[in-house]
């Protein structure tokens, strides 16, 4: 199991090195999701029988982080979608991407993303889940921003990463809270401790954090705007991310945590309100789009809203409806996206006002898109019909809210089926424009995947009982009643059938009456400045300006200003702490008496410093500075630190040499400061020197603890076979520190080298 989850990451690396670009070789990566699909399918009978298969791998047991994977109904449903639709997307992408030289990188990112998604849905440990959660954000960033040369593409990738990454950060807070309160990060253990979590004072906080993570990932209002922006990605990516994987991660989390955190009014009503509002808002928005992918993006957001709403209702019926609808939506939405991609690929347009009559050049695509549209509208004998039935059944059993919820879902479903018709029928019906007449027909590997998805929609539509075992297991995992009858096609004449009929008819009427036009897009654009999208963009711009202002103030390029900032800040901090500690008297008797050497060195140093301050020659100042350094070396020698003295001595020599090298090239000595600045600097440095001396005295006043130094002295020879204790500490006792220090030195050398050698032309500077 561990290999299955991590194989995507491994192959992500392999695909980078073995560039499978030419001819049929580029279809080889598709075997990765295919073999994973087969692997997961072998577990299907056991999972359908209601078993939970656990795989335990220890990772960081001390922190309670273990790679525990659990394959139950919910994980199985998502794994099959990820690998199944993944296989089709891999094949499709190999045929779709025109820039073959980059295709290996694409598959690398895609495999990483797939592995992250699999890890997310399979892990039983919340912290591991979080790691995979973040991995999906990062790998989807590369996929969304695939067209690196387009600014819009890069910007939407950054926006998606900022929103989902921010949500992920809050999710981490939620995970840590739950782990702390529940005493474990294992979802199984937390489910058992559900009552403790719900009664805890920070339950509301937990909910907020988890919701923030799920809502940003699943594009709920007000975070929905990253999803339409992410449509800048190549179509295979959109199909994969937005039908079966990325956006469903939030849904998965809510599903998974339903038995842990759910059941409380706060959980249910929040989900119902947010889901319901998103559903209505996005369904309404999809009316005003003329870009095919735009329509699909908003209908995806609406579908996600619907699923969140169903999870919020929290009954067995609603979980069943949600589970079925997840599958329904994945099948028809992936098919529609793939068809859109074929259209875009063939005629280089996605504009609904221009596309028509394409069935004449791509009949199989038209059939696939048509079936997908029918499934989305919920026509009988498609899987969508079953899904729609279950949704109405679930909303009608909510007691007090039944009428309102059913009405809301009815309106939204009418709008959604309109969106389905627009995406599935509009481009293919009518007369073919002459400009498209000589378009070449798409190849089989492009239209094969959507046709297969459409066939699956039909298959499950005719025989809904096929999906029952898996779907019922999902319901059981979410905390619903596991003993459910099989799904049936025909429930007899009742209110639900009437509602379904109304939905289908409403969609058809709306489709016949409305024609997508640019004026509608412009109409919606007028409200753009009120949208949450512009609010977030303004916020981001504000943060940028503030940080620009701060950087400009603090990092202004004058070394003396940096020094003043650092020293003043230190001074304030030190004085703040020292005020209480200042001793009333200093016990000089405990210190070593002042010797002749000390006096001589002191006089040397002080006079050198005075020369340094008042000289107007650079050479003199450097030499006086060196005198100060060498005097300190002497002090080290007198007080028994020969190692320190040696190092200090060589460093001082090199510093002087460095100064000399630069000195010869500098312009003549200039007086850049006036009297006021000098006085200010003098005051700051005097106070700083005083405070440091004070600290030195305070340290001497403290009773010394010699356990550590005695340990080193006693054990240097017996443990490390060395007589020079200082050196033994450096290379043995604290060798890791030294290792890190030389790494830092390396980084510093690289910094100096690249800063001085790299010549940036003025056009590249900002």
């Amino acid at each position: 199991m561990l290999i299955a989850v991590l194989s995507g990451i491994l192959f992500a690396l392999l695909f980078l090195f073995f560039r499978l670009q030419n001819g049929w070789l580029r279809f080889i990566p598709a075997f990765l999701p295919l073999s994973l699909l087969i692997y997961f399918s072998t577990w299907l009978p056991e999972v359908a029988a209601g078993k939970e298969i656990l795989f335990k791998y220890t990772w960081i047991p001390a922190m309670g982080v273990n790679l525990d994977f659990k394959l139950d109904g919910l994980a199985m449903l998502f794994s099959l979608m990820i690998t199944g639709i993944g296989t089709l997307v891999y094949i499709y992408a190999a045929a779709y991407l025109s820039d073959r030289s980059q295709i290996h990188k694409f598959f690398s990112c895609l495999s990483l993303f797939m592995a992250a998604m699999l890890g997310l849905v399979l892990s039983d440990n919340l912290l591991v889940l979080f790691i995979f959660w973040e991995l999906t954000s990062i790998s989807s960033f590369f996929l969304i921003g695939w067209n690196t040369k387009e600014e819009a593409s890069r910007k939407s990738a950054v926006l998606a990463l900022a929103i989902t990454g921010g949500g992920g950060f809050l999710l981490l807070a939620g995970v840590l809270l739950m782990g702390n309160v529940g005493g474990s990060y294992s979802i199984q253990a937390l489910t058992a401790a559900s009552a403790t979590l719900k009664q805890h004072g920070s339950y509301v906080l937990m909910l907020c954090f988890v919701f923030a993570g799920a809502f940003t990932k699943s594009a709920m209002f007000p975070f929905h705007f990253w999803l339409p922006g992410a449509m800048k990605a190549p179509t295979p990516v959109s199909a994969y991310l937005h039908s079966a994987t990325m956006v469903k991660a939030g849904i998965y989390l809510l599903f998974r945590l339903s038995p842990v955190l759910g059941g409380e009014p706060l959980w249910n009503y929040t989900l119902m309100i947010v889901g319901g509002f998103t559903l209505l808002y996005a369904a309404f928005q999809s009316l005003f789009r003329t870009d095919l992918k735009g329509v699909l993006a908003y209908s995806t957001i609406a579908a996600l809203g619907l699923i969140v709403l169903l999870i919020g209702i929290g009954t067995t019926e609603s979980f069943l409806a949600a589970a079925v609808f997840i599958l329904v939506h994945a099948l028809y939405k992936a098919a529609l996206f793939l068809c859109t991609g074929i259209i875009d690929h063939a005629v280089h347009s996605r504009d609904l006002t221009k596309l028509s009559g394409l069935r004449k050049i791509m009949m199989p695509v038209a059939i696939a898109a048509g079936i997908a549209a029918l499934s989305s509208a919920g026509i009988p004998f498609t899987f969508g019909f079953i899904g729609k039935d279950l949704i109405y059944e679930a909303t009608m059993q909510t007691g007090m809210l039944a009428i309102q919820l059913t009405g809301l879902v009815l309106i939204a479903n009418v709008l959604l089926s309109y969106a389905g018709y627009v995406a599935g029928f509009r481009p293919f019906t009518g007369a073919l424009p002459e400009a498209y007449a000589d378009t070449t027909k798409p190849e089989f590997l492009l239209w094969g995947p959507p046709v297969l998805l459409a066939v699956l929609s039909l298959l499950f539509g005719f025989f809904p009982a096929l999906s029952s075992p898996l779907v019922n297991a999902v319901v059981a995992n979410a905390g619903g009643n596991p003993a459910l009858p099989d799904l049936k096609l025909w429930h007899g004449f009742n209110l639900i059938l009437l509602l379904s009929g109304v939905t289908v008819l409403g969609g058809v009427v709306l489709y016949l009456l409305r024609k997508p036009a640019d004026s509608q897009v412009q109409f919606m654009d007028r409200f753009e400045s009120f949208s949450t999208r512009s609010f977030f963009l303004r916020l981001a711009e504000g943060i940028k300006q503030i940080s620009h202002y701060f950087t400009h103030k603090l990092q202004n390029g004058y070394l003396r200003n940096y020094m003043i900032t650092i020293i003043s800040f230190l001074l304030i901090l030190l004085c703040w702490k020292l005020v209480k500690l200042i001793p009333h008297s200093i016990d000089f008797s405990a210190m070593t008496p002042v010797s002749m050497y000390d006096v001589v060195i002191l006089v040397m140093m002080v006079s050198a410093i005075f020369v340094l301050i008042f000289t107007s020659s650079r050479l003199t100042s450097i030499i006086s500075l060196s005198i100060v350094g060498y005097s300190i070396c002497l002090l080290f020698v007198f007080y028994g630190a020969p190692d320190l003295a040696m190092t200090q001595f060589t460093i001082d020599t090199l510093t002087a040499v460095l100064f000399m090298l630069i000195l010869l090239k500098l312009p003549p000595f200039l007086t850049l400061t006036n009297k006021a600045i000098k006085i200010r600097d003098a005051i700051i440095s005097t106070i700083f020197g005083g405070v440091i001396s004070m600290i030195a005295f305070l340290v001497l006043q403290e009773p010394t603890h010699k356990t550590i130094s005695r340990f080193y002295a006693d054990n240097a020879y017996s443990l490390a076979k060395g007589k020079n204790v200082v050196n033994v500490i450096l290379v043995d006792f604290r060798g890791s520190d030294t290792l890190i220090e030389i790494t830092v030195l390396t980084i510093a050398a690289l910094g100096v080298y690249s800063m001085l050698k790299l010549k940036i032309s003025s056009s590249e500077k900002e």
Partner: protein, 136 residues
């Protein structure tokens, strides 16, 4: 600095200083010294050479870019730190040969760690100084 005395002196000083730096490096485990100081002394030897003969001459004399020493040293230190882990011991455990080698004394992983530090310090110092000299 075109001084014939300095030039002649540096020709003799360079090997002596390098020898001294190796001496400082090797004695570090028992007496004052060590890889860090050793590396600095070796760097000073070449800086002195460049003062007398010019940077181009020193570079030609050194043949390879001083930056090359940095990864070599880092790798050496890292290997000597990680090596005990292969034998199941924890990171940085000292491994020692039983018999002392003449002149050098006991050889252990700490010595290779020190040589790594020596190379890194030598490379870093010369890279920085040479780069700055060339740029001003």
């Amino acid at each position: 600095m075109n001084s014939i005395i300095l030039r002649t002196a540096s020709n003799y000083l360079l090997p002596m200083l390098i020898l001294f730096s190796v001496f400082v490096l090797l004695r570090g485990h028992y007496e004052p010294g060590g890889g860090f100081v050793g590396g600095l002394v070796a760097a000073i030897a070449f800086v002195l050479h460049s003062f007398a003969h010019g940077l181009k001459e020193t570079r030609r004399f050194l043949r390879i870019h001083p930056g090359v020493f940095i990864p070599i040293g880092l790798l050496l230190s890292l290997i000597s730190a990680v090596l005990p882990m292969i034998g199941g011991q924890s990171l940085m455990t000292g491994l020692w040969f039983n018999e002392p080698v003449p002149v050098i004394g006991l050889i252990g992983s700490a010595l290779f760690f020190e040589i790594g530090v020596y190379f890194v310090v030598f490379g870093v110092t010369l890279t920085m100084l040479f780069t700055i000299t060339e740029s001003v």
